[in-house]
Symmetry: D2
Subunit: 480 residues, 4 copies
């Protein structure tokens, strides 16, 4: 039986930070308190001057994503291993069925691929089409498979885009099942038109990518999805909120009392759209993801949203297409496969730009990197908390440690690093997953296949509240 005693650190949870030792045993935290003694055989980690925090949860990754007969560079093993190196102990990836594909089949396929994961993982399942079978299978996924969130792409016309009819059907079904609908918010019809318009203007390079997906395209879709959720009375989670207008749509809805949540990507917090005008195609193309990086000013608004509580989680959308794959769009930006890495860098980048600058307190850092995600997807306090009974998924964080991020030193198999050259202060010294030291002072000890699939129960608190609200406000017929 494995036991680790983390001595002398400051435990940081979302609600507070305090001096305490942490003791783990058999994959669980068994004690949090001052002056704990190590049981026989326990490994002791000296956390003096360091923070002990819940391992990061990345609620938005695409490991091993199929693409025209190939896949992204990181498979579930290398991707989760890179995550561990960055202090992350859980990812939530996506099952993305093709239109007309049976969603249970797709789910099983992805489960199979994920078996090699080094850290714990779970899956959102995308609803890319609609039928009575899909409706039934959503029930099976929730009740039997521990899926409590469904993803909807509002962009990618003629591919996986949901129209309003499918959104309405799937959101309604999600409400019945106690599962959270989530959306990739971009108006696919407008993207389709703009890709053509921009191309017709003679702009074929990666700089055309952000021009074809301006902020209003995202804001419209976010507003629409939120309105549908409001009318249906279901909570909603908007992935990768990248711009002021979209964050404002969320804030407006929250001010109206709606239970709406927003996710921000590490990249959107620190990069801007100047990257697309880089003279080197490969560099510019390496930044092509959707929504794109935005004009300066947007990042600051996202940070403020995270601090104020109008935005809630941070993620990466980790999706590592290599230069050869990106080259598919050499003459047509709309053909560049969308995706960037980041699973390994997220925590350090957010700490450095968030905590070191006073935008976030350490507790707020924990909230937006693990605890809020765990709460929203109903795996709290198993994940996202340093407390007795929780999974021993921890990161010991050295606020004085520094590192220069680079493709040369990253563990991810991607061939590009969007944070290249950035020196961060504040890095993981140790990552503990399932009670095992998997990353120690730069030494990655990830074990292929050690990760477990995490079931997530349906009907988080929001659903009970929304149900009571609906009953309270239920209309009546007029007797005539």
């Amino acid at each position: 039986m494995t036991s680790i005693l983390i001595k002398g650190g400051t435990v940081v949870n979302a609600d507070r930070a305090f001096r305490a030792d942490v003791l783990t045993q058999d994959g669980k935290i068994v004690a949090v308190g001052e002056n704990l003694t190590a049981p026989a055989g326990a490994t002791t980690v000296d956390a003096g001057g360091q923070y002990v925090m819940p391992g990061g949860i990345d609620p938005h990754t695409h490991m091993q994503l199929p693409f025209m007969g190939t896949t992204t560079m990181d498979d579930f093993y290398t991707g989760t291993a890179a995550g561990l190196a960055g202090g992350n102990t859980t990812i939530i990836d996506f099952v993305i069925p093709d239109p007309q594909e049976n969603i249970l089949d797709a789910y099983k396929k992805w489960r199979g691929w994920a078996e090699k994961s080094a850290s714990d993982y779970s899956f959102h399942v995308a609803i890319t089409w609609w039928s009575e079978q899909v409706r039934q299978d959503m029930g099976t996924l929730v009740k039997d498979e521990g899926v409590n969130s469904f993803k909807h792409f509002m962009a990618y016309k003629n591919a996986i885009m949901c129209d309003d009819e499918t959104l309405v059907n799937s959101f309604k079904r999600s409400l019945e099942l106690g599962a959270m609908p989530t959306v990739h918010a971009e108006n696919g019809e407008l993207v389709y038109l703009l890709q053509k318009t921009v191309s017709d203007m003679g702009i074929k390079g990666p700089e055309g990518h952000p021009l074809s997906r301006p902020p209003m395209v995202e804001a419209e879709a976010a507003n629409r999805a939120i309105a549908i959720a409001d009318v249906l009375n279901v909570p909603i989670y908007v992935v990768h909120v990248s711009c002021i207008e979209s964050a404002e749509a969320i804030a407006r809805a929250r001010a109206r009392g709606q239970r709406v949540y927003g996710e921000v990507l590490a990249g959107h917090l620190v990069l801007d759209d100047s990257v697309y005008r880089h003279p080197d195609f490969a560099t510019a193309a390496a930044h092509v993801m959707s929504p794109p990086f935005r004009p300066k000013g947007n990042s600051e608004f996202l940070w403020k949203g995270l601090q104020s509580g109008n935005l809630h989680t941070t993620a990466t959308d980790h999706c590592t297409f290599c230069a050869a794959q990106k080259a598919a769009g050499k003459d047509d930006f709309s053909k560049i496969p969308n995706g960037c890495g980041g699973v390994e860098e997220r925590l350090a980048v957010i700490w450095d730009e968030g905590v070191n600058t006073g935008r976030l307190t350490p507790s707020e850092f924990v909230a937006v990197t693990s605890a809020n995600t765990a709460k929203l997807f109903n795996i709290y306090p198993q994940k996202g908390s340093v407390s007795v009974g929780a999974d021993a998924d921890l990161v010991v964080w050295d606020p004085a440690g520094t590192k220069t991020l680079s493709v040369k030193t990253q563990h991810s198999k991607g061939d590009f690093n969007i944070f290249e050259g950035r020196t961060v202060k504040g890095i993981p010294s140790h990552t503990i997953s399932q009670g095992e030291l998997v990353f120690v002072q730069g030494d990655l000890r990830a074990v292929k296949g050690k990760g477990r699939y995490i079931k997530r129960p349906a009907f988080s608190d929001n659903f009970a509240a929304n149900k009571l609200r609906a009953e309270t406000l239920a209309p009546s017929a007029v007797k005539r």
Copy 2:
């Protein structure tokens, strides 16, 4: 030759009010000034203590609307005559082709019906489907027929609803043609679902109507149409803005610098949704229109929008289905034909609740009842202005006159009056259309067929500005 001298009144234009006489000849205003003398044979109207204003323009009516083999009660003659009795000298009605119907054919059909009009009139043309032929015919309508606005219904699924693809195509074509896109903003997919949901709750009466079309359904569609217009860089006009959330969508867009305009119906300014819970079915059903009347509080916000300039025009959506027609929805609110009257009462209701209460100055009244509409649809100052050279379409307004509005005394052929029993202070004493007295102290002298079709030129000022803006901001390709 006919000449009228209006003596001793206060002329009110959108920019100011001033003491002046007004002289008309042969259908035009030929002098505005103090102490004018009447030419031989001129009729003199004593306007002492009264205001002399441009005749009202109602930019949103449905006269003689076909409905399941019958039509609304008011045809173009009785409807425009009722308008004249209320001080209105122009209406803009709608050509509404069936999906797949040739839009030029529909246009000609409506032009034929309108020949019996007593006042001047024009037409917005609805785009209810899309094809290359539609695209071409839009050009013919603009270039040959003086149509400079196209209407899009975002509701009425499985009937005349436009999906995003049609909106995008039609807005883009409107931009090329210099014509203003307009929208009926309600998310048809949500209405469709809610009609079923509400009915399933056992609510079958008219009180189900507003429940199936809550404010968020309107706000979502308004926001979406505005976003599409923004991305395409075309001005946009939202008809019948009825609620706070929708007005806010417009205000937000305007604050972003977008050229967006909003129309408000007289009914939405003074009624609320309690009407749908009237114990008498016929009464409740008589108020069924879309968007429905809203909870108290919304009206006040609309008034403030008109005053501040975030909303721009007022209309009625005059559409007089009778009790027998409304009875089609006796057991199913979704089958009640949508529509209410008002063309005759709009000016008096808005004066009484707007000017008498200090919400609007007299000049602001003129702005929102005629001048702004004339400017937006590019027929200013021919219409909407008391100035030399303008059409002699005038109303002499008695601010001390009172009247109790009622179905019993109205000129409209509808069998209901949504303003029933309301006593207004401030009524037309004389209406002058094309330089002829057509309404004098309660005596309606409307002449069938006297009204003229008004052509409206394309490319109002907004289009030139938007074009320059686009050129200024035009992106460039990166040389690589």
Copy 3:
């Protein structure tokens, strides 16, 4: 040694709810977990079907408030006892020095009065004037006396009102000391004028009270205090936010990334301004407090603020003037002493209108009734948390229990109950203070003098973050 075992309940903390027993010993919680066994001599409380929550903290009370030679009805004993009966185990009251009065003297006076308290208590200290001595004494209070918050009245001209100069000085000093400035936000100059204006209109009764303090008077002051705090880079807490406009000022500041917090009174959440038009003077006068109850619609906005996280705490401003005292303003509303009760009813009213209606989850209830206050005033998790090591201040909450609130049955010595006749579902079955059962199924066992003064340490997390932010953004001089 006292020990209590609470068996079979659902523990509710701000971050989650879970089935667990709770064991207390010697005034502290010593275990939280399933299937705990009672130590010898322990009292067992059956919490089956009930919630076990942190005792309520009321951050805004005025017990034993001096007023023209008399005091309010409730002294620190009866007031805190009433609080215990309602499930509250801590209050934060106010030391209010007269202008020119030494603030340490005032502090000692209040400390003396509070010695008879039955529950734990602490003090905000009001800064009502400014001098070098005041500046120094603020330091003494923070460093020696555990005061970490200072109160500023922006109303009450010619009495305790702070002008901008004092606000600026005191906020700056608070920042240095790591203490939270708080404000009663009403523009005293406007109140002064309006009291005269309203009186001059012939309105002398209590209905004049809200007319002399409209929402904009509060919103202006809130906005001003927030702006000053922003410029000085100090966190700020706005007491008794009562209206939409004021809550929006807070939300705007938070969206800008400012650390601003808002408190809401139970009364403002459920009452409206119609109370001031009650035909009975005594009834109307009994509701006179500042800010006054607001027009319908404001309450709903406050609820949404609490749910979304734009507002943070709930309180009562408990201040029980009796009918005879209120009669001082029989002929002049401006002379009616301001204050209402509520310390006993707050939790039940907020549960009933908040949790039972789906506005709040049980965890959100705990957040806004105790945990957030404890965090903001830096006594968390000693207070506001059901966790090992926390004070054994608990309430066992019976969600099925009902009670009709009334002056006849209340424990407070006030002679009026603003919630009179309201039947709530969800009431405390047991209150535990310092590990002792002080309220059991309606039986109040409060002990005079048992309450302790709670010191609150300075420099909560917000201060460290703000300091880093300032350093990050520090401007530099231009070398010339």
Copy 4:
């Protein structure tokens, strides 16, 4: 008798643009129409390809401003002459009494100074202190002297700053008199503190100026003044709105239905705060004015406000301190006299950046450069309109003409040009003042003393509307 015929141009008014000739006689416009014939002796101006617009009105200048025994460079002659060269035919300057100075005396002093003006002029009068005499003299100014606006400085502590008590008194008096209160909106208490704080950080140069007056300082004051005006029910005009937050305060108030108006300076529309970090002291100091130039992004928001109608007028705050005067603050930025020029460049800069870029239509240009000011200060259509009966104050605008703005070529006596080096397209070819050609193709023919003082009547339309609104909403006493 002088007569001018302007042939072949496009007349631009705020409501529309149209082809017409314009004929003036004896200082008035006597005809506007197509194909006018010149009377005998008339001068003909060929306006082919040009626009004929109302002469610009600059509602905010400080000519000949006294300063520590000297005055600004431009006196009323050179300043108004420079204005004429730039197409401006009227200025509204400020009478600024010292505290305790009799305001009528100050008014007379300024009137005397202004007699040498070359163009028409008028005066706002500042209220810098309060007494019964001031109250009475405000009445004299309005009733006898044609003053209909009063200015209030919310900054400049220990000098001309108004506290809330004076604001409240003066706004109330303005309402009685039908005069518009206006405010310089900056919180003087915060400026006072920040000047010290910034200096204490070792920042003594001009870069300290914007640091001591951040946007929130302006926004707070604007919000406060607007709130006071709202509570008192008086319209209000905010001068030199420079930042997003302040413009938003105005927009919020307007959305609430309040009659609030905002002025923007040409400089704030095109410059940003980088000027204060210029390595040359004189250059940096030359830009010192209050509010200071703002970070990039603010200008764009102001443009959008002008276009949408949330902001209304443009001005310059023309106040030409020379380098020697500016040097007073060589070692202390707070001692640099505040002021920049611009009266000569405003129209060209706004045309070039506004109309040429599609931000404004030509009619919107006229609205914000003359017509709106004339309406708000009740001298419309005497000023601000090309129409029969209006003053013959006109500018013939050559949209193809270009000019590079420079201190070397300017007519103003200032020794700096904040628009130095900017090449504008769109310049005046002719300026006509009182029916005389005073600027012809670069040849300035200004006549000293030719300008007239313009009386402005009280009680513009807004006052009548506000009075009706107050009566409509008047509260009543409860009968008890």
